[in-house]
């Protein structure tokens, strides 16, 4: 899993540049701080974002630099402050709206979907809604059914929204900066289990374009398309597969919309086998889209059906004995890949 720390995959971009090791949380914070310094229109709004720096402490320190005018604690009113964000974005500001847990998207869908996503189109291009909704996904934190969901397929479905799922500190920083500069509403999901995950991040400023998948590990025999923390699961599986002589390519789409279909399809055409792995529920989830895109685009090249591995289709149970069964694991991916490659 070396590239997680050395960003091998992005070595081209950062070759010879000075780098430091940062956690995901630090990378996110750095992106926010840089963009807030750069652009006075950027502000952060949400519950306990100021002095507390969020329950995950990701924003710690930002209020010291930018003050409570730009790092704003709100009441527990997700629909309300999301709406204020939309109104502010329509009138010249660039809000970053903090939705503490991705499970609370249930409360903000109207603001995201009926308001933010549509204002531009409905007005015939008159309004811009440059807003970022920062939120979380990911289970196995023993937070139970209402604090563990990965609901990113919902905004991925909605024209007008862009959806970002960074897996490494490098990606987290570069993609968040792009999200803030984007003139459209962007929903940015951090896996809450990865805030302490480390990786190399350049000293120099950089951004990462949306819609460009990243090959986290090159391989020849099978394609593992994985999102967010599932990238680590896929890399773990790739390590094991290597031991039995199977070379797996790990592809991280990084944004579910825009989706870099070409890179996914090209990889599958090359390897002729693919598994897609995502922590959302499997049914009608992100894996369905990724699998359908590959099955279509690589139809004449595939030696086996595209396989999907999402979260088990159950509300996330609290008990560790059960919760750990619900998310894809490196072992499970390894087994599936082995079978797909015809190695019983």
């Amino acid at each position: 899993m070396s590239m997680l720390k050395t960003s091998e995959s992005t070595a081209g971009a950062t070759n010879g540049k000075a780098m430091r090791e940062l956690t995901m949380a630090q990378a996110v914070r750095e992106a926010l701080a840089e963009e807030m310094r750069r652009d006075a229109r950027v502000f952060i709004m949400g519950e306990d974002v100021a002095e507390a720096g969020t329950p995950f402490k990701v924003l710690l320190g930002l209020v010291d630099e930018f003050g409570t005018d730009r790092v704003i604690d709100t009441p527990i009113s997700e629909p309300g402050f999301a709406a204020i964000g939309v109104g502010a974005a329509m009138t010249g500001m660039r809000p970053v709206i903090d939705i503490m847990f991705g499970d609370f998207l249930t409360l903000t869908m109207d603001q995201m979907v009926n308001q933010a996503a549509k204002a531009r189109y409905m007005s015939g291009g008159k309004f811009m809604v440059p807003i970022v909704f920062r939120t979380t996904l990911g289970a196995t934190r023993r937070s139970a059914a209402q604090h563990s969901q990965s609901l990113h397929v919902w905004p991925s479905h909605v024209p007008g929204l862009k959806v970002v799922l960074p897996s490494t500190p490098y990606d987290a920083k570069g993609l968040l900066k792009t999200a803030i500069r984007d003139d459209n509403p962007v929903v940015y999901f951090e896996d809450k289990m990865n805030f302490t995950t480390k990786g190399m991040v350049p000293d120099e400023e950089y951004t990462i374009p949306f819609g460009v998948a990243d090959i986290k590990r090159a391989g020849a025999d099978i394609t593992l398309v994985a999102t967010s923390s599932m990238v680590y699961v896929a890399l773990g599986a790739a390590d094991k597969l290597k031991e039995i002589g199977i070379s797996a390519e790990v592809v991280d789409p990084r944004t579910t919309f825009p989706l870099d279909k070409q890179t996914l399809v090209d990889s599958a055409r090359k390897t002729s086998r693919a598994i897609v792995i995502d922590e959302g529920y499997e049914r009608y989830g992100v894996t369905a889209e990724l699998a359908a895109v590959i099955a279509d685009g690589a139809f004449y090249y595939l030696d086996a059906p595209v396989k999907r591995m999402g979260a088990m289709d159950v509300p996330i149970p609290f008990s560790p004995a059960l919760e750990d069964l619900t998310a894809p694991t490196a072992d499970a991916v390894f087994q599936m890949a082995k079978t797909l490659c015809g190695r019983a």
């Binding site: 939309v86 109104g87 309004f127």
Partner: protein
């Protein structure tokens, strides 16, 4: 314009109920604005009846004094958000009827290139952040615009119009709370026309309406929404207050829609009586009330009103003409403006 000049002739400065100094020409201007809205809406109804308009529309006839009384107190750069019943707000904030009709007919020169239609009409340059087809949603956007104005220190004020039905939406309370906490320059204008679609508001609204904003520390006033002078005077005070950094306000305007909930709502007997409708139309008409008062005060005469009305009708008729002749958007438009 001709009417304006006549008004000037009889003009001498008046002090209205609230003590504000208002030029009589300004009252005539409001009469004109109200009449333009009425005339616009009558054309809309006509277009619907003749099957020339796609979909439905919610007419503002009867409620003109609210939009006009409030918007006359706003600057062009101030913001409004509007509702499914939004033509009146849009006109009162300064939009031109030709591009509005074009929008309602789904034509290319429409304010939203025909993509929004009646329920999403917006006029960015005029500060109209858009009608909204989600009841109550405009209150959130306006509160956000006020937040933005405050951050940008622009001096702008945001007004959000909504029906009393929007008092059912939790969003309104969430944003009123923040507006009050942060003293945002936003004014909430509740158009109480008695009905949420086909249900009387007393069946849907517990307690005293005015207690709701008050509970969030927001000053509130109830005004006769058929009396444009009363609306204007109250709105003006709240807007000034907001602009001066003294925080949000809430105005409840008691009003009535003469027509159905939308143009297709013809048989209304099951939810309201003909007598009620007639009473409002004859006794409480905002145009009549203003023209009567102006006449009593010797500030205008029948000829002036007739002139205004004639001009408005002509304006609307030629605007409809423009819209009907306007082209539909090109097919390629369908995938444009999804993203910036």
């Amino acid at each position: 314009m001709a009417a304006n000049m006549k008004a000037k002739q009889v003009s001498h400065t008046q002090t209205d109920a609230g003590g504000a100094t208002v030029d009589p020409e300004e009252w005539l201007h409001m009469y004109r604005q109200m009449y333009r809205i009425r005339s616009f809406e009558e054309e809309v109804n006509d277009l619907y009846t003749k099957a020339l308009m796609p979909g439905l529309a919610h007419l503002y006839i009867g409620e003109e004094a609210v939009a006009v009384g409030v918007c006359e107190s706003l600057k062009r750069e101030d913001y409004i958000t509007s509702t499914h019943r939004g033509h009146g707000h849009c006109l009162a904030k300064g939009a031109s009827p030709d591009r509005m009709f074009a929008e309602l007919l789904g034509r290319a020169p429409g304010y939203c290139k025909g993509k929004g239609g009646s329920m999403h009409i917006a006029d960015q340059e005029g500060g109209n952040l858009g009608a909204n087809a989600i009841v109550g949603a405009g209150s959130g956007i306006a509160t956000g615009a006020a937040f933005s104005a405050r951050m940008r220190k622009s001096g702008q004020v945001a007004v959000t119009f909504f029906g009393e039905g929007a008092l059912g939406q939790g969003l309104l309370y969430e944003v009123m709370n923040m507006a009050s906490l942060w003293k945002l320059p936003v004014v909430y204008v509740c158009e109480n026309n008695l009905y949420n679609e086909y249900t009387h508001y007393s069946q849907t609204t517990a307690g005293e309406l005015s207690a709701r904003p008050a509970a969030f520390g927001i000053p509130v006033e109830v005004v006769d929404g058929q009396n444009v002078r009363a609306v204007y005077e109250t709105a003006r005070r709240f807007i000034e207050r907001a602009r001066n950094g003294e925080g949000p306000g809430f105005v409840i305007c008691n009003t009535y829609r003469y027509h159905g909930h939308h143009v297709g709502d013809i048989n209304r007997a099951y939810y309201r009586s003909k007598e009620e409708e007639t009473l409002w139309k004859t006794e409480r008409d905002p145009l009549n009330l203003l023209s009567q008062w102006l006449t009593e005060q010797h500030l205008a005469d029948a000829a002036i009103f007739e002139q205004i009305e004639k001009e408005a009708r002509e304006e609307m008729r030629s605007a409809v003409e423009f819209a009907i002749k306007a082209p539909f958007p090109d097919a390629s438009e369908v995938t444009q403006h999804v993203y910036a």
